[in-house]
């Protein structure tokens, strides 16, 4: 397949480390927008940040669920990461969402259990825009007072679903939004207000 033959990171070791470190920064400061360099090329439809996160995090130990918009990247993912693709969102370690408007409800994914909350899906949601000066008000660990985050293209009930998930802590999913080269995270601890 032509998609599979696209090059990945220019430098596997250091590009993966740099991408991880910026993602860690985003996860430790919910709502903060960080920039990742991205691979040399990304399959059509995949933003550089989305591709970089997959190359950094996925391997043979992580079943990945792809939404219909991302189905075409399966070969690319298999070639570079060796990650198995699952059709069941509830069994995915990572979920790739390129059509956020049509994404499954949050409780379709794995929330883990009270004893093993880390066995839960991390959602990588590629969106049309990200802004940190407007939108939701965020509070919780990693946020000194409050943060803002605006994400374009999510469905009407996404916010309600995410708010409902807060009561299930420590169960839940962690969400990473991507746009172009930019990344922002919404770990399950973050409390959202409209």
């Amino acid at each position: 397949m032509t998609t599979a033959a696209l090059p990945g990171f220019a430098d596997n070791v250091h590009d993966a480390q740099g991408t991880f470190r910026r993602l860690l920064d985003a996860m430790a400061h919910p709502g903060r927008i960080v920039t990742v360099p991205g691979p040399q090329a990304a399959p059509p439809g995949l933003d550089p940040a989305t591709a970089a996160l997959l190359l950094t995090l996925c391997d043979g130990e992580t079943p990945v669920w792809l939404d219909p918009g991302a189905a075409a990247i399966a070969d690319w993912l298999a070639f570079h990461a060796g990650a198995p693709v699952t059709t069941a969102p509830a069994r995915a370690a990572f979920a790739v969402v390129l059509q956020p408007q049509a994404m499954p409800a949050l409780d379709a994914f794995d929330w883990g259990t009270d004893e093993v909350p880390e066995a839960s899906t991390t959602l990588i949601v590629q969106v049309a825009s990200l802004a940190d000066d407007t939108g939701w008000t965020l509070r919780g660990p990693g946020i000194a007072a409050q943060a803002r985050l605006a994400v374009a293209g999510l469905s009407q009930n996404w916010f309600t679903d995410r708010r409902a998930m807060q009561a299930a802590f420590p169960r839940g999913v962690d969400v990473v939004f991507t746009n172009g080269h930019r990344v922002a995270a919404l770990p399950r601890t973050t409390i959202m207000e409209s």
Binding site: H14, M27, T56, V116, S120
Partner: protein, 308 residues
């Protein structure tokens, strides 16, 4: 043995023939995924596939694996052992990372991007953007109260921490106060009971709403956990027995500091002793600024100036 001696200058060169930071990419990915989940669930212990490292369990293998998975070429690393940059464990771990990554190292807390520590938090306040990596011997706070992992998992799942309160209460009944002086249990984000690693309880308040990211690695016990920046970390106590930190009647003999954690050192066989800062960088920076203590007692032998 010569090969283990790090070069005298701060600029290191990466040793050829090894993966960057020693660990292979698959291992780093696995540890990175665990770290991300640890940050998302503050205080919760995440199991990970701890690797054999070129030093024994108990010498900081958990902290080393966490640091190795986080560190990049642009980082500046500081390693301390009981507050000191020049003790055996700190020197050998710093030497290890100099050879395996070629990153710059420092003793100055404010210049470091990553601080790996055994049993202390630096006196100099850590800032946003810094990462502190703790070496953890026993990660499970309930271990001496409940030996079965299956049970402690349930207790964490249900936030059932009564046993720990009973233990602290029994201390008060027996001794009139809570006797735990180090590895003093904390509640993270109001949800998870966590061992802060064997830091003195003096350091516990520094963890509360710390601007830096705190990562914990236990190599032998194969657990990683984390406290994100600006997260509540409360030491357990009772309304009528509030948490208190250690206080000294002495000041540091070298820099005169009255509010740092002091080590008592014996200086001769005549019973003479002195109190000095445990944090060597903090102490030497204060002395460089002109602060002075009462001086070391007579008979104290200055260490030879032949450090790494």
């Amino acid at each position: 043995m010569n090969a283990m001696t790090p070069p005298a200058v701060d600029v290191a060169r990466e040793e050829e023939g090894y993966s960057f930071a020693f660990l292979d990419e698959q291992t780093k990915r696995m540890i990175r995924r665990a770290i991300l989940k640890a940050v998302a669930i503050p205080g919760h212990q995440i199991p990970f596939g701890s690797r054999e490292m070129p030093l024994s369990y108990g010498w900081g293998t958990g902290g080393i694996q966490v640091t190795a998975s986080v560190i990049g070429r642009d980082d500046t690393l500081k390693v301390i052992d009981q507050g000191a940059d020049d003790t055996t464990n700190a020197v050998s771990i710093r030497g290890f990372f100099r050879r395996m990554t070629g990153v710059a190292t420092t003793e100055r807390t404010e210049d470091a991007t990553i601080v790996q520590t055994r049993h202390r938090i630096p006196e100099t306040k850590l800032a946003e953007g810094q990462v502190i990596v703790y070496q953890v011997p026993i990660p499970e706070p309930l271990r001496w109260l409940e030996p079965r992992e299956t049970e402690t998992c349930k207790m964490h799942g249900l936030a059932e921490y009564g046993a720990m309160h009973v233990k602290l209460y029994e201390d008060i009944v027996r001794y009139g106060r809570i006797e735990t002086a180090y590895d003093y249990p904390v509640m993270v984000n109001g949800r998870y009971l966590m061992r802060p690693s064997p830091i003195p309880k003096f350091d516990n308040p520094k963890m509360d709403y710390m601007p830096a990211l705190q990562l914990f690695g236990a190599g032998r016990e194969k657990r990683i956990y984390a406290v994100p920046p600006y997260t509540s970390v409360k030491s357990l106590d009772f309304e009528d027995h509030p948490f208190e930190i250690e206080r000294w009647e002495h000041r540091c003999a070298l820099c005169g500091s009255g509010d740092s954690f002091l080590d008592e050192i014996v200086v001769d066989d005549q019973g003479n002793h002195a109190f000095v800062c445990s944090d060597t960088d903090y102490c030497s920076q204060r002395r460089a600024e002109g602060h002075e203590g009462t001086g070391m007692p007579e008979g104290y032998l200055q260490p030879q100036d032949g450090r790494e």
